[in-house]
Amino acid sequence: MVKENIKEKISRRDFFKSSSFGAKAWAAELLAEDEARPKETKWAMVIDLQKCIGCDTCTVSCKAENRTPPGVTYNVVLKEKVGTFPNVTKINTPRPCMQCDQPACKQVCPVKATYKMKNGIVAIDYNRCIGCRYCMVACPYGARYFDFGENYEQEMLGYNSYQTNEYGVEKGERKKKAPVGIVRKCHFCFHRLQRGEEPACVETCLGDARYIGDLNNPDSIVSKLVHSGRAVRLKENMATEPRVYYLK
C-alpha cells in the first residue's frame, strides 16, 4: 500500500514535469508541500474473531464508558450458530460502528450532522442532528441507535446527573435536550483517544481480541494485521470501506 502511494506520487510528478502548461514551479511547490506534511493519524480497529470468546465485556464496558441509555448499544456481539449438527460452530462477531471511509450514513444526512473527521472517525454533531433517522435506515451494519430519552435512573441512582463527554464535549446532566431525540453511535471512544487512551472495548477485552491503531503508519500493529492476509471486512459489497477489520 505504501509502495503504491509512492508510485502514485511519482507518476503525478512525472505528469507535472511533462506538462507544458508552464505551471512547473507551482506544481513543484504543491508536491513539496504534500510531502512535507506529516501524515495524520487515521484510526482503525482490528478484531480477532479467533480470540473473541463472546463474553460481551466490550458491550458492557462501552455502556459504562459512554453511559448509553436503554436501547442504545454502540457495541454488540453478534452470536451466530453456523453449520448443521454435529458440525456446528458459533461465530461471535463484535460490531461497533465501522467508521466507514465511504459512510452511507454521512451520504444521506440532510443537514450534515454526520460527518467524517480527518482521523477516520465518523462523528455526529449532537446539536445539529434533527432526528430524521435517515442515517439509521441507510447504515448497512445497524450501527446507529435512536436515543428515545429513556434512562437507568431506576437501577442506577444518579444516572441522569452526568453524561460522558463524547467527542470531547462536556454534556452535563441528562435532560430533555440532545442527545435525547437524536441518533447516536460508536465513535471509537474519541474522547478517550484524545486523552491517549484506548477505547473502552479494546482496553477491557478479555480475550485481547481488539486492536486500535493508526492505519497511516505502516509499522503499527493494526497495519500489520490488516495486511496479514487474514483480514476481512463486513459487507464489502456495500462499498462503504469500513475501518474495522476482522481476522478470520
Binding site: E80, V111, A113, V137, P140, G142
Partner: protein, 426 residues
C-alpha cells in the same frame, strides 16, 4: 311551490349535515391534539418505533400525502398546460388539494423528527450529497408554484367575489391581493402564466417532489427492497393513482352535498384515467417484486416474505393494498361504469388502498435486521401515532372544507381555450 320546498329541504339538510360534518372534524382534531400533547411531552417514546424500525406510520403518511399532492397537481396540469377542457371543473380543486396535501405531508414529517424544534436546520444546512436535502428545497419551491397557480386561476373570481359584503367577500378581497383588473387581457395573461408555471411545475412535481421522494428510498443501498431504479417511477405512478382518486372523491361528494350536477362524462373519464394508472402501477410493482426475488438476496427475500405472509400482511397487503386498493375498484369500473356511486366507492377505496401501499413500502424492509445476529424488528403504530395521524387528517379536511366554502373553487364561467381562443360555450 313544491320545488321551493324541495330547495328548502335541501338547504336545511345541507345545514344540519354541515354541523355534523364540522362536529366530526372537531372530534378528530381533539383526538389529534391529545395525541400531539403526548408526543410533545414524552418524545418519540410515545411511538412504537425502535432503533430496529426507525420509520413508521408518520413517514408512511408523509409519502402518502406527498403522493396525493403530486398526483393532484399533475392532473391540474392536464387542464392548465395541456388544455384538456373536459376536466376544467376540477382544475382549481386539484391545485387546492395539492397544496393542502403538501401541508399535511409537512405536518407528518415534522411530527416524525426526533427534534421537531430543529426542523429549520434542514433549510439552513445543506448536504449536496443527500437526496433529502434537495427534497426539502423542492417542496418549498413546489408549494410556491402551487399557491401562485391557484391564485392566478381564481384571481378574476376573487375580484368578483370581493364586491360582496359578507365574510366570503372580505376573504376574497384579501386573497385577491389588491388586484382589480377584470379585463380580458389580464385573464389571458393569467392563463399564459398558468401555462408557464404549470410547465415548470410538471418536472418539479415528477422528478423533484415525488420521484425525488421515491429516490429518497431508492438510493438506500442497505435496503435491498428499495434499492431499484424503478422505485421512483412507482412512486410517481401511484401518486397519479391516488391523486386522481382523491379528486374524483372530492368532486362527487361536493356536488352531492351542494346539490350540484355531477358531470358524469368527466367522472367516467377520470375514473378511466385512475384505473389506467392503477394497472400500470400494479405492473411496475410486479417488476419490483420480481427484481427483489431474482436477486436471491436474503434481505430482499425476507422482505417479500413479510410483505406477502408476515403478521400484518393479511390486512395491509392482501386486504388493504390488493383487495380494497386494486381488485374492487377495477371490478367496479369495468362492471358499473354507468353508476356514479359505484365510481365514487371505487375512488374512495383507492384513496384508502394507497395508504396501505405506503405502509407496505416503508415498514417491511425495516423489520429485517441488517446483520445476522441483530434482533429483528416488530412494528405496529402506537395509539399516539394513530391519534396524531387522525388529528392531522381531520385538520386537513377542515382546511379543505373551509377553503371550498369560502374560495371560488368552482368555475363561474368555463375556462376559455388556453392561449386566448374564443369561448365556445355558455
Amino acid at each position: 311551490m313544491p320545488s321551493k320546498t324541495i330547495a328548502q329541504n335541501i338547504t336545511t339538510l345541507v345545514k344540519s349535515n354541515r354541523v355534523i360534518w364540522y362536529g366530526f372534524l372537531l372530534v378528530l382534531m381533539l383526538v389529534g391534539v391529545y395525541g400531539l400533547s403526548m408526543r410533545v411531552q414524552t418524545g418519540l417514546i410515545s411511538t412504537n418505533l425502535t432503533s430496529n424500525v426507525p420509520w413508521g406510520a408518520w413517514v408512511a403518511f408523509y409519502i402518502y400525502f406527498v403522493g396525493l399532492s403530486a398526483g393532484a397537481f399533475l392532473l391540474s396540469s392536464l387542464i392548465f398546460v395541456f388544455g384538456m377542457e373536459k376536466y376544467e371543473k376540477i382544475g382549481r380543486e386539484a391545485l387546492l388539494a395539492a397544496i393542502l396535501s403538501m401541508v399535511l405531508a409537512m405536518m407528518f414529517i415534522s411530527l416524525d423528527l426526533g427534534r421537531m424544534e430543529k426542523f429549520w436546520h434542514s433549510l439552513v444546512y445543506f448536504n449536496p450529497f443527500s437526496v433529502l436535502s434537495y427534497e426539502v428545497r423542492f417542496y418549498g419551491l413546489y408549494v410556491l408554484i402551487l399557491i401562485t397557480e391557484l391564485y392566478l386561476s381564481m384571481r378574476q373570481d376573487l375580484i368578483k367575489n370581493a364586491q360582496r359584503n359578507d365574510l366570503k367577500g372580505k376573504i376574497a378581497k384579501i386573497c385577491s391581493l389588491g388586484s382589480t383588473d377584470l379585463s380580458k387581457q389580464s385573464e389571458e395573461r393569467d392563463h399564459k402564466w398558468l401555462k408557464i408555471l404549470g410547465s415548470i411545475g410538471i418536472p418539479i412535481a415528477i422528478f423533484g417532489v415525488h420521484g425525488g421522494t421515491g429516490a429518497l428510498f431508492a438510493v438506500v443501498k442497505a435496503q435491498h427492497y428499495w434499492n431499484s431504479a424503478i422505485f421512483p417511477v412507482i412512486f410517481v405512478v401511484s401518486a397519479l393513482v391516488s391523486g386522481t382518486a382523491l379528486l374524483i372523491t372530492f368532486y362527487i361528494i361536493r356536488q352531492k352535498v351542494m346539490g350540484g350536477q355531477v358531470d358524469k362524462t368527466m367522472v367516467q373519464s377520470l375514473a378511466g384515467l385512475m384505473i389506467g394508472f392503477l394497472i400500470v402501477d400494479i405492473g411496475l410493482q410486479f417488476y419490483e417484486y420480481l427484481i427483489s426475488a431474482y436477486s436471491l438476496d436474503h434481505h430482499a427475500l425476507d422482505t417479500l416474505a413479510i410483505l406477502f405472509g408476515g403478521k400484518f400482511s393479511l390486512i395491509s397487503f392482501w386486504l388493504g393494498q390488493t383487495f380494497i386498493g386494486a381488485v374492487v375498484p377495477i371490478f367496479l369500473y369495468f362492471k358499473f361504469r354507468e353508476s356514479v356511486n359505484a365510481l365514487l366507492i371505487g375512488a374512495i377505496m383507492v384513496v384508502f388502498g394507497i395508504v396501505a401501499v405506503r405502509f407496505n413500502i416503508v415498514v417491511p424492509p425495516l423489520l429485517i435486521p441488517q446483520l445476522g445476529g441483530l434482533t429483528g424488528g416488530y412494528y405496529f403504530p402506537s395509539s399516539v401515532e394513530w391519534m396524531t395521524s387522525v388529528g392531522v387528517i381531520g385538520f386537513g379536511l377542515l382546511l379543505y372544507s373551509l377553503s371550498v366554502s369560502i374560495l371560488p373553487v368552482d368555475l363561474s364561467s368555463p375556462i376559455e381555450k388556453i392561449g386566448g381562443g374564443v369561448k365556445d360555450n355558455g
